[in-house]
């Protein structure tokens, strides 16, 4: 029997649940050399802010066991150039685009969203991912996602700028004591979905020079190494939704997915969609390969609808 792979991001339905992860796929044309990006459920763009950003000095990365540390510093063209160049190009490629945005202040987030809404190519946008794992200028550089109030404020302001039927998805950081409480305030403030997780804060020391390996000292840890943390975050928030502790909204799982099997872990834990990040550096076709492997696995277990697998592990403990 054929498998129905479609999945819902609330107001929007996607043909399948696999996406790129922000910052791990650039903005389309690079990966288009390896596969047709319209095969993915959605294409998630590199986080864009108001102004062009140079990013940080180098080294910007260090390999770690089954993962890597990065400190790109949100290098990007700024929202104006993004709307003029990257977005129309993605539209031409037929991509369904989940646009990742950020700001140093909650107002900057809102400005970026407002600019995006006015873009001529806005019709290819299937949602906005609000990257609140971004330093908050007002709060000594602590990231928004570490504080329920700052997170809520950003989400509410972005929500106001966007059409009602545009999903607004808050992307959470795992570096918090209680991720459920952050999820709660984001949903309360109008988030129609949650992406979990962003990278974990890490440091690598270069043991030759005895200096931090990264120019920026700290960086974000990603890759298979962190997968159990991502699955845990999805598990906890999905469990809280099932217990009625927060409204049920779609969860997008991300963190360490390299194979269809890895994706299935996040799905069974409660993710309605899955993003493939660092694994793309290992295999540029990883996002579509994961999609194919996931579909085969789910079908092989006798399911006919992908959505029936979402969160299934909660019923089997």
């Amino acid at each position: 029997m054929a498998l129905d792979l479609s999945t819902s991001l609330g107001p929007v339905t996607l043909p399948n649940p696999v996406m790129t992860a922000s910052g791990c796929a650039a903005n389309g044309k690079e990966l288009a050399r390896f596969f047709d990006v319209d095969r993915l459920g959605a294409f998630v763009t590199k986080t864009v802010m108001a102004q062009p950003r140079s990013g940080r000095g180098t080294p910007r990365m260090a390999e770690t066991p089954s993962g890597m540390l990065n400190s790109i510093g949100l290098q990007g063209p700024g929202i104006a150039a993004f709307c003029a160049g990257d977005l129309p190009m993605l539209k031409d490629l037929g991509a369904r685009v989940l646009v990742s945005i950020a700001g140093g202040t909650s107002t900057e987030f809102a400005d970026v969203a407002a600019h995006l809404r006015e873009s001529a190519a806005f019709d290819c946008v299937v949602g906005v991912e609000v990257n609140i794992s971004c330093p908050n200028v007002a709060n000594r550089g602590q990231v928004f996602a570490c504080d329920p109030l700052s997170s809520a404020k950003v989400v509410a302001l972005v929500r106001e700028q966007l059409p009602r039927d545009t999903p607004v998805i808050a992307k959470l950081s795992p570096d918090v004591t209680d991720i459920v409480s952050i999820a709660q305030s984001c949903v309360k403030a109008g988030a129609t979905g949650l992406t979990m997780i962003n990278t974990l804060l890490g440091v690598v020391i270069d043991t030759e020079t005895l200096r931090p390996a990264l120019y920026a000292v700290t960086g974000g840890l990603s890759g298979p190494a962190i997968r159990p943390v991502a699955v845990r975050a999805v598990w906890q928030v999905a469990a809280a939704m099932r217990e009625g502790r927060l409204p049920t909204v779609p969860i997008i799982g991300v963190g360490g997915v390299r194979t269809g099997r890895d994706a299935l872990e996040l799905v069974a834990a409660g993710a309605a969609a899955v993003q493939v990040g660092t694994a793309t550096f290992n295999d540029p076709t990883a996002p579509v390969r994961v999609l194919e492997e996931l579909a085969a696995l789910v079908a092989g277990k006798g399911f006919t609808r992908f959505t029936d697998v979402v969160g299934v592990a909660h019923d089997r403990t």
Partner: protein, 291 residues
């Protein structure tokens, strides 16, 4: 962007020592056919159980587009860390995943012109192939190979065949002139009247080639070696500050816009002790200051 192939099970058909390096040959159809000198491949390391997720980048030493095995690609590898140790320990019939050709090749002169090709250590690997391409266009190719010590020179014998002239330098004087390539380059420029320099090697060498080229009125095309996480342009880890035609400096990806850049466009002032600072005047540097 230019076409690129992924060979999921590229078979190693030959591996041999070459001084301090390993010279390896992989069957990689699709890569061999479209590659040009200066381009590189990104090679997966460690096999299915690997904890090393990131591919390793290697300049293409040479390609044989067809033959008994289908197209093959040759690389010259210095065993350094986990990944290169694994690669150099592979035996015939072992396989790994190779993506390529990647990056922009050395641009060839529009007209016949004398050129000097400078390689540091394994940096000479792509130069013999480049020399052949230049000679096909009627250019002279004068080779300068430098290394810390004799065993870290690569291809001196090939050089004699490929080059119109060959100079060798070693820091410790174990082969050729004692010193760095800077010790012989000015004379080479003077003697050959070279108008283009091609260079591949450590950053310090590339900078020095750029400066000496400028002093002799030549353009330097240098292939940089920045740490790369993806090699295919999606991660933004491999950036260096480069000044564009508009006079503005941007942090550009050395895997996609490079690895070959015009030497005089690289902001050498930003590099120091293995790190590179974003120049204050770079596009978008301002926005980094607030957050």
């Amino acid at each position: 962007m230019s076409p690129v192939a992924q060979v999921r099970a590229a078979e190693l058909i030959a591996t041999r020592r070459a001084g301090a390096y390993h010279h390896v040959t992989f069957v990689a159809p699709g890569i061999a056919e479209s590659a040009r000198p200066g381009q590189f491949v990104a090679v997966a390391v460690g096999g299915p159980t690997s904890a090393n997720l990131l591919r390793r980048a290697f300049s293409i030493h040479k390609v044989t587009p067809s033959g008994t095995y289908g197209g093959t690609v040759d690389l010259v590898i210095s065993a350094k860390g986990a990944g290169t140790q694994w690669l150099t320990a592979l035996r015939a019939h072992d396989t790994t995943d190779i993506v390529g050709p990647l990056g922009r090749p050395f641009p060839l002169p529009a007209e016949a012109a004398p050129c000097v090709l400078v390689g540091g250590g394994y940096g000479s690997a792509p130069l013999f192939w480049l020399a052949a391409a230049l000679k096909e266009r009627g250019c002279q190719a004068h080779l300068v190979l430098g290394a810390a010590t004799e065993s870290r020179l690569f291809g001196v014998v090939d050089a004699r065949r490929a080059g119109d002239s060959v100079h060798v330098t070693t820091d410790d004087g174990t082969a050729g002139t004692k010193g760095t390539v800077a010790a012989v380059l000015p004379a080479v420029f003077r003697e050959t009247g070279a108008v283009v320099a091609y260079a591949c090697g450590p950053m310090g060498m590339l900078r020095s080639v750029t400066e000496i080229s400028a002093a002799h009125g030549a353009v330097a095309q240098v292939a940089v070696e920045e740490a790369m996480a993806c090699g295919v342009g999606v991660c933004m880890t491999c950036v260096i500050p480069v000044t564009g035609n508009d006079g503005l400096t941007r942090m550009v990806r050395s895997c996609a816009e490079g690895p070959v850049f015009r030497g005089d466009r690289i902001r050498w002032d930003a590099f120091d002790g293995g790190r590179c600072t974003v120049p204050e005047d770079a596009v978008g540097a301002q926005a980094m200051r607030s957050h």
